[in-house]
Structures are given as structure tokens and as C-alpha cells.
């Protein structure tokens, strides 16, 4: 599966558009990690635990998007966008969406 946030894939030709595919996941923060983050919040600096957690969640959202793309018979998703929103206190939604397409090598 070829992924790109451009509207095209260089060197390839889009032969078929299969429409919007999307993947999302809502994750709550881990209580123990929350506590550590609370302490870290006094001193400032990077919250590694959250960085990893959000990255994992984003990957999961992307995996779901790819699953949708595979289901519709695409071999690439172009013009991918990400968005994050906090749904309730302490939980975040990670969302990925793009256009599922069928690519063919240019001549």
C-alpha cells in the first residue's frame, strides 16, 4: 500500500479514484502514566509516555484507514490528512483520512 499526503504519487499514474477512506481511534490515557505526567507537568519538558501513546494511536488510525482502502481494492491512499481532537477529558481521538486510488506505473 502506497501512502502519500500529496495529491499524486511521483512516477505513477492514478487510474481510478475510489473515494474517501478513513480511520480513527479514541484513546484514553493510562492512569499510571497520567500520574507521572502530572509530576512532569510541574517541571515542564517532554512527556515521552504521551508522545509514544499518541504515535501508537495514530498508527492504529492509519492502519484502519489502510484496511478500508484494501477493502475497496485500492493500492494507494493519497492526499492523507490527520486530525486530533479531545473527545472528553483525558481522551483523544486520532483521525486519518485520504483518497483511496488505484495506481499504475507510468509507462
Amino acid at each position: 500500500m502506497q501512502l502519500s499526503n500529496l495529491e499524486i504519487v511521483p512516477g505513477q499514474r492514478i487510474v481510478k479514484h475510489l473515494g474517501l477512506v478513513q480511520g480513527s481511534t479514541v484513546r484514553a490515557k493510562h492512569a499510571g502514566k497520567d500520574f507521572l505526567a502530572g509530576i512532569k507537568n510541574i517541571f515542564g519538558g517532554e512527556l515521552m509516555a504521551y508522545t509514544e501513546l499518541l504515535q501508537e494511536s495514530r498508527e492504529e488510525a492509519m492502519k484502519r484507514m489502510v484496511e478500508q482502502a484494501e477493502a475497496v481494492g485500492a493500492n494507494a491512499v493519497v492526499n492523507i490528512r490527520f486530525s486530533t481532537s479531545s473527545v472528553t477529558m483525558g481522551a483523544a481521538e486520532l483521525f486519518a483520512y485520504g483518497t483511496a486510488v488505484v495506481l499504475e506505473p507510468r509507462a
Partner: protein, 150 residues
């Protein structure tokens, strides 16, 4: 009374440690940015056709950075009178640059030399019920390409 002491201690700790951490982070950002200077970041949507692109990949990098107690308090006061929140400016700056550097790390691992269509996504992570900004997450993503430039 005990509350007041805890409050003052937190302020002092937040200030001393927070400032040190921030200074160190900025030094590290500047150093790593210099190391990665050969990888070009382009915000344009499409590469020009004259670039001979052999490969492209979606790449991204994220960072969650939290603000220290002292700055959060200063920002709270600032909230009363309005105006520029200096305390949070360095927070978002650090998070953005860190996320971009991680994007560059990933692009380099894939052997790319340019990243096109950079998008930056910022989200605040609320710590608790009160709406005081705890920390922010920045996610930077784009399409890394291998060109014939190399």
C-alpha cells in the same frame, strides 16, 4: 499555610528546572537542525516535474511537550489582563521543531532527501477538568521523496 508553601515550592521548582530543561532542549534542537540541514523541507503541495523522484513515503513525527508550573501560573495571570502569552510561545515552538526533527529522522532512515507538502497539526492535551493548558501535542507529516539530486 501549608498550601502556600507547597505553591511557592512548586513555583520555584517549576522555574528553575523548567528553565534549565527548556534551555537544554533549545540547544539540542539547534544542534540537530544543523545535522539535518541537508534534508529539505518544502511546504509546497507538489514537487516540480523536473525532480526525478524514484520513491515516495508518508513520514511523520510527533512530540508532546508540557509547560512547567511557573509558566502555567504566569500564563494564568496573563489571562486576566490579556496580551501576548510569552510563556506558551516557547512551548509551541519547541513542540513544532521537535516534531519536525522526528519527521526528518524518519525521512532520513528511508533514504529520502526532500519532504514535500509538510502539514503541522497541533492539539492541546487537557490534564484535568479545569481547562488550564497542560501540554500540547504537535504532529508534523509530509511525503518524503528520493530524488535524483543525490
Amino acid at each position: 499555610m501549608a498550601d502556600l508553601y507547597i505553591f511557592l515550592i512548586l513555583l520555584a521548582l517549576g522555574f528553575t528546572i523548567g528553565t534549565t530543561v527548556e534551555k537544554r532542549h533549545f540547544r539540542s534542537l539547534i544542534r540537530r537542525e544543523a545535522e539535518h540541514a541537508d534534508l529539505l523541507l518544502i511546504a509546497s503541495k507538489l514537487p516540480t516535474p523536473d525532480l526525478k523522484i524514484s520513491e515516495s513515503h508518508l513520514v511523520g513525527g510527533n512530540a508532546v511537550i508540557s509547560v512547567d508550573y511557573f509558566k502555567r501560573f504566569v500564563a494564568g495571570l496573563r489571562n486576566l489582563v490579556g496580551g501576548r502569552m510569552n510563556a506558551y510561545e516557547s512551548l509551541v515552538d519547541r513542540a513544532r521543531r521537535e516534531a519536525l526533527l522526528r519527521l526528518k529522522d524518519e525521512a532520513k532512515q528511508l533514504g529520502a532527501d526532500m519532504v514535500f507538502n509538510i502539514k503541522i497539526e497541533t492539539a492541546s492535551i487537557s490534564q484535568s477538568a479545569n481547562k488550564a493548558l497542560g501540554s500540547i501535542e504537535v504532529y508534523a507529516y509530509g511525503t518524503a521523496v528520493k530524488t535524483a539530486r543525490q
